[in-house]
Symmetry: C2
DNA sequence: GTCTATAGGGTGATAGAC
DNA sequence: GTCTATCACCCTATAGAC
């Protein structure tokens, strides 16, 4: 904390500039397709500085990308684990927070998917701490779904259907945005965001419709 | 058609072997992360043959990947355009065909997303014929949604919500499969397929719940 | 048609001056 | 801390023998 002397004027340090540029390019194009030279150019710095601050392209990738998600995941896992909330309201909470996060980091889902697909990313294997944390969140939520089912609070379907639907509805618009916003039917940036905000209210309703105990 | 002499015994020609290997690797790891050397090895042929049959890595990519989807898209677009079916049944048709296709080509969604993300793929721009065809399918479906709304057949919501939800529920399990099938909660290959087959029946029901005219 | 050998170009990383 | 210059490597693509 006292190690580094920050300039009074916060005009983004070289280190921060690199991180920002790297984040942009990595999320946009994935690991393999991003060149260190592109990052240097985008940051307006010299190529050598990249290796001076971060040991390697891999290390930079790991650092930059994970900083974002891990923070978010930590909060979510904690909230999902300690929940006295009825299931309906858990959904509302998850949806709202997720969409807020995605609006701020629209490139993140694609990055995570790339990571999971293994091979494109430097450590896309299941032992990756990020993977572990996503799995953890999944398991916490899975646990809550099962609990709600046993209480008769929600319908009996395979819990993975619920997770797949919830996650799909949350994340898909962000990765398939070029299709949704296709040229001819044109949709502006503002309209896209408006739709996503609408979804904060709609997704919980849709999910509720799926899990509602119908028979009594 | 008469240009090339096919061997009587269909023991996969060198050309076919390359295409098969390329398809596997490209869908698995994306364009940038796939090396021509890997393709050659996977196909059990010499590296030079790859350039002999297909002019370049790019050309091979384009050819191999698009062959699959374009065929499927053509059928879907035609069916969606000429449809005397009520909206409910259109959904059933789309869902059923889509899931069948995805079970046969599980790597395809990720490939398309990579393509759309532009930069990773050689021609991930919106002028790409594949992109055009996806857009075409989207627009056809969009048209049908609007028609059904005007007939009062379904509820009034922004049509893109419906498309996003339908596509998300169809496609997401295939791209996020490593999460759904995560280690600890383990799910086997067979169980995954079983779930997807279940979804053929369930997704139309869920969608129906979303678009049902409630008031009368 | 299939191979070996290599050209030709780009990428990540570092040495060393300032 | 920042730069220039350069190395060592790996990749795609091709020339040329068989």
């Amino acid at each position: 904390m006292a190690k580094k002397k920050e300039p009074a004027v916060k005009d983004l340090s070289t280190e921060e500039k690199i991180k920002a540029a790297a984040k942009k390019l990595f999320t946009q194009k994935g690991f393999a397709a991003t060149k260190t030279r592109d990052i240097a150019e985008e940051a307006g710095i010299n190529l050598a500085l990249l290796n001076y601050y971060f040991r390697s392209k891999e290390k930079l990738f790991e650092l930059v990308m994970k900083e974002n998600i891990q923070l978010f995941l930590g909060v979510m896992i904690e909230k999902i684990n300690n929940n006295p909330l009825p299931f309906d309201e858990q959904i509302v909470f998850i949806v709202s927070n997720y969409i807020d996060m995605l609006l701020e980091n629209p490139g993140l889902p694609f990055f995570v998917l790339n990571l999971l697909q293994s091979g494109n990313a430097p450590d896309g294997n299941p032992d990756d701490p990020l993977f572990k944390n996503i799995e953890k969140m999944r398991n916490s939520f899975l646990h809550n779904i099962k609990a709600a089912m046993e209480k008769g609070e929600i319908k009996h379907v395979h819990p993975l259907h619920i997770i797949a639907n919830l996650m799909g509805m949350l994340v898909f618009p962000f990765i398939a945005r070029p299709i949704l916003m296709a040229r001819s039917g044109n949709i502006s940036q503002a309209e896209f965001e408006q739709l996503m905000i609408e979804r904060k209210k709609l997704i919980p309703e849709w999910i509720k419709g799926m899990i509602k105990v119908s028979g009594g």
